[in-house]
């Protein structure tokens, strides 16, 4: 076990070096990470832990956690959202269930914050709040990594989309967060578009440009096409949403009632 652990540690050192270097070769990192993950499957003390405690358990757990954290960050760098989600899911076991057994990781809140940002960017508000609940309320304002997505969410709720755009420039998550922030802009735009559809029948192109935060008209016309609206003479006409008619399943109800009556008749 010791030996396996040691090789894993060495490998991880090499990976970190590559990861941290400014000229990071993403493919090389991925390859190294894959090897590391395989090594991890050989660890005996990882969750779901069963059997006797091994002396190297603490080290194994910490190493595994660190590998996963790096893997999560790397996946953002590679714009691989599903992978990021997977790693976060795996990390949660370490953050939640093993919180008492392991010293706190310095990357815990950045990772969690990124995760929150991701949810926000994907417009998964419900899940966002679920995740937020799992973080102690005291930290919502105190911890900058958590505070940032929390605030962004509030802006969106308020409709202060400008503030969202401004916040983007803040650059807290300079490197990893940037990707999510651009996603977030898209999300916000979608939101506005959906609202406009409901609110207006038509709108002038300029106005729309402004509202949708699109810099130029060609970009607007591309977007209009994507949404399936029509634009003519600088006027955008939104498509009409068809109302669904509520229908009573009368035949079924009659049928059921009759069969109940029949059954009642047959009760001895």
């Amino acid at each position: 076990m010791e030996a396996k652990l040691r090789t894993a540690v060495t490998l991880f050192e090499a990976f970190k070096k590559e990861y941290d270097s400014p000229t990071c070769d993403v493919d090389k990192c991925t390859a190294m990470l894959n090897t590391l993950k395989l090594r991890m499957t050989e660890f005996t003390s990882l969750p779901p832990f069963s059997g006797p405690a091994s002396p190297t358990m603490q080290q194994e757990l910490m190493l595994a956690r660190e590998i996963l954290e790096h893997a999560a960050l790397l996946s953002i760098r590679m714009r691989d959202i599903p992978a990021f989600e997977r790693y976060v899911a795996q990390l949660k076991v370490y953050y939640n269930d093993f919180a008492t057994a392991l010293p706190m990781s310095q990357r815990q809140y950045p990772v969690l914050g990124l995760n929150l940002l991701r949810l926000l960017a994907q417009n998964r508000t419900a899940e966002f709040h679920t995740e937020l609940e799992l973080i102690p309320p005291a930290l919502h304002d105190a911890n900058i990594y958590i505070k940032y997505p929390t605030q962004l969410e509030q802006y969106i709720m308020e409709g202060s989309f400008n503030k969202v755009l401004n916040a983007r420039a803040d650059g807290l998550y300079s490197r990893e967060g940037e990707y999510f922030m651009s996603m977030l802009t898209e999300t916000v735009r979608e939101e506005i578009a959906t609202c406009s559809e409901k609110a207006y029948k038509s709108m002038s192109a300029e106005h729309a440009c402004n509202m949708l935060m699109l810099p130029t008209l060609p970009e607007l016309s591309a977007y209009v096409e994507q949404r399936g609206w029509t634009m003519s003479n600088g006027l955008i006409t939104f498509k009409q949403s068809s109302d669904k008619v509520l229908e009573l399943p009368s035949m079924r109800l009659i049928h059921e009632t009759l069969s109940y009556a029949k059954e009642l008749e047959r009760i001895v």
């Binding site: 894959n34 499957t41 969750p47 779901p48 832990f49 599903p82 008492t100 057994a101």
Partner: protein, 1126 residues
Amino acid sequence: MSVAVQSAPGLPMITSASGMLAMLEEEQLEIKAYALRTLNAVVDDFWAEIAECLPEIEALYEDEAFEARQLAALLASKVFFQLGELDDALTYALGAGALFDVSATSSEYVDALLAKAIDEYCVQHVRLTDGQPRRAADADADADAAAGADAAGAAVDPRLVALVERMFDSCFERRQYKQALGIAIEARRLDVVYRAITRERLAAVTEATPLADIGAAAAAAADAGAPIESGADTPAMLEHCLKACGTTIGSREFRAHVLRLLVTIYHRLPSPDYLGMSECLGQLDDAHTVAALLEKLMRGSGTEFLLACQVAFDLVENGTQRFVNRVTALLLPPPAAAAAASGADGGAHGFGAAANAAAAGAPAGADDAMAVDAAPPAEPAATATATAAASSSAPPPPATAAAATAAAAGAAALEPASREAKLMKILSGELPIALHLEFLCRNNRTDLAILHAMKAAVEPRNALCHSAIVHAHALMSAGTTSDVFLRDNLDWLARATNWAKFSATASLGVIHRGHHTQAMQLLKSYLPTAGLSASPFSEGGALYALGLIHANHGAPVRSYLLEALRNAGSNDVVLHGACLALGLALMASEDAQAYDELKAVLYNDSAIAGEAAALGMGLVMAGSGSARACEEMIAYAHDTQHEKIIRALALGVAIVQYGREGEADGVISSLLLDQDDILRYGGAYALALAYAGTSTNGAVRRILDIAVSDVSENVRRAAVTALGFVLCNNPAQCPRVVELLAESYNPHVRYGATMAVGVACAGTGNRDACEMLRAMATDSVEYVRQGALIAQALVLIQSSPQGPDSRAGQLRKQLDKAISDKHEDAMTRFGAILASGLLEAGGRNVTIQLTSLNGHKKLPAIVGMAVFTNFWVWHPLVPFVSLALTPTALIGLNADLKMPKWAFQSNAPPSTFAYPPPLRPEAKGKVALVATAVLSTSAKAKKAERAKDADKKQDKDKAEKADVAMGEAGAPADSDKAVAGKKAAAGAASSADAAASKETRVGADGKEREPPFQLLHNPARVLPQQEGVLSVVPGSRYTPVIREIAPRPAAGAAGAAAAGAAAAGAGGSSAAGDKLLRLSGFVLLDDTTPSEPQELLEPAPTGGASVPANMEEPAPPAPFEFTEGA
């Protein structure tokens, strides 16, 4: 170690499987496999989370290239199991292959899935075996099968087969043979049945081999193989399997296969079990093999002859009349050979060859048997002889062959002619009936005080109650030949007029049931005689009585009854009696002539005569399933206008379909779909009888459907009653099934429920049944109360204990109250009187058994009971219940078929199974006094006093009885002592006796103490509940011929007298403390000291003389000592 795990530094259990689930989506296969492994370890806790990822897991399983796909299947299976989707769980468990560990006990998942897999396999394999000869009428199976009908006959999923095979293997490894056997039977895997019993695999047999081929393979193995080196439990397994045949196998066809297999295995036992074999063959309706078997045993050693007798007794008890007649015909020598037999024993052997030849050659079907019966009989034995000659196509064997066999057999065959005669005496039913009669006369404990009390309580002008008392008396004295009460009360009896007179005369038949020798003489004054014309009602009743006396053994009166039928002319009442009598006497004989004559009466279209004729036709053809008879009867039912005739025809058709199970479905459906509610009524009875004693789910479902949906109340009542018949092999189940129906708003359904419970639980004393019926006895509708009382009597007949506080005692009080209550409805009082007759039936020495010990249905009992339940429409049908009465006797017989003095031990305090205390003479006064006002308090006080008296009396009785036991027990012990070489055994016996007497003394003095066991003397009354505690007295002179089938000394060794004595000594010591294996009925006894003179019991006189009119118990014989010189 485990402590270390728990205290591992702050290692909490994980709270979510999401991390592991995330790994499933990794690209690397190793990681996916790793995730599956870890998930599999936590699936019991996190299945809910995992369930969300089922599609991925399923996809992994679908991926043929993925090497851990079986693991994925196992995981998916476990999740589906938790989700309650057993079908999917099973599919994936099959996919998991060997990873699904069948031997992992204590896992709920494995247990549930195995059960599911076995169920599934059973369904599929049954469909496979059914696939070849598929019956279209298999209604209930079809409903299920319809979905996969196109798959019928297709092979079973090989993975499922593999799984079940693994399960069988693991059963065998863990020695759970019975479990394997049960599953094999359920799944119709004949080869595994074979393997479970013999522990041998059949070569070249797979699960898809047709059943017939497996049977052949087993037979081939039997021919090739040596006798089975049995584990000692092979016989036990065989017995278990035989029992299962009677109780759990629903398909007639498969049952036949299993029975054939059992016969094969019985043959291979080191000491073949002829009884089991004959039982199987009897069920298979294979008269030829039974005859050959009897033939072989008859020629064998002394013990084998005893076995032959035992087999014959069983045949008579369990077989139908037709079957026994066929066996008899096959056994009897043709006249030529018989003539030779009288001279030399060589001739007798020649006859044996002839019988075998006939067995091999002549295919004797039903027609054959009909032809046999069609010949005009003169005297039973002679008839059989003549008809055997007529039907046997094989010529008498050449004398040379006879000589050869004679040389081989040598001197072993002693007096073959007399042996044959003895066997015939049994097979003709003559001896068993005579012995039962003897037992009932000898032990008659009819309490006439009860009758007197009833007579006094009922107002004289009430005809209904009057005839009820006559019926009750008949039942109470059934088979005891004691008609003292009737003779003492002739003027009272004379009040019966018209049909009541008919019933009263018929009741003589019940009282003298089985009294063949004097039947004609007894009934002479009532039977129709030429020239004299007495009342037609008494004439008809007398004919009916004759039928009851000869029920199911009609050969002696067949011609007389046919003659009476022809002479009756157009007198409906006499015809009625004659038709019923003919039906009873020739029950299940398939007598073509009788059937045709009855049909002629039917076609006269007279309501009364036609009714009896229709019933008689059904009885004669009972259980034959004859399509012709059914067609004719149903056709006429559509023609006639008389409801009585239609009802009787419908019932008749039902009786014809008795025991036919699936074969009867066509007829049943046509009856049930008829427009006429009376025919549907018959349909319900047909379901009852065709599936009687099978507990088949399909039949129960159909019956329940009719019971709740038919528009006619009669049909509903019949349907609910039918439940009792179908479930009669499973008494404990019936009260539960009927429970809801018993609370129906419809009184007819409630009445049916009482009857169903009464029939199904008859003679069991089942507690649930009693409780339910007790509650129903206070119903608001009079006929429901009637039914509840009668049903209670059926359930509690011969139940133990019989004290005043027992359930039976309570019922007695309840009945007394109902009978003497002037304001009670006449119907309820009728029921109460009938119930008290049933409760005390047969001189308190009979019970009601619809199935034999091994769970085989008794045709006369079930049919009799079914007709009895029709007393609702026709009171003269009440006596039919006497067909279901079985003496609770254990009768020991020696090789001469005589009853020797012999005792055995019942390991329970005598009071447990004692007779109920007789009604005290004061009680008579008390009942009469009820008319005057009696305060409840004084009544209570009186009751308490009476109870005290009864207790005292009981104690006195006990003391007396104990003394008798002590005295008589001494006698056999003394006689044993005289036998050389058996001193040790005798010592043991006498010390046991001494212990008994010591116990008894303490019991007599200390009042509270009772001896823990008692000695019962041949012929003894043995209650069904008592059967578990019987044992042979160590060292007694006679030992039952059926013993624990352990390896015993070869029968051939017991040749010379000296060697015989030694063997007997060994046998005696091994028999010490043996459990008695044959617990009721006839037991053939092996005499261990044949040279000693035997002490036989004197036949008891028949007739009323045996019971003194006042109610004292017969005085015990004085103690005596047996000396050898005597």
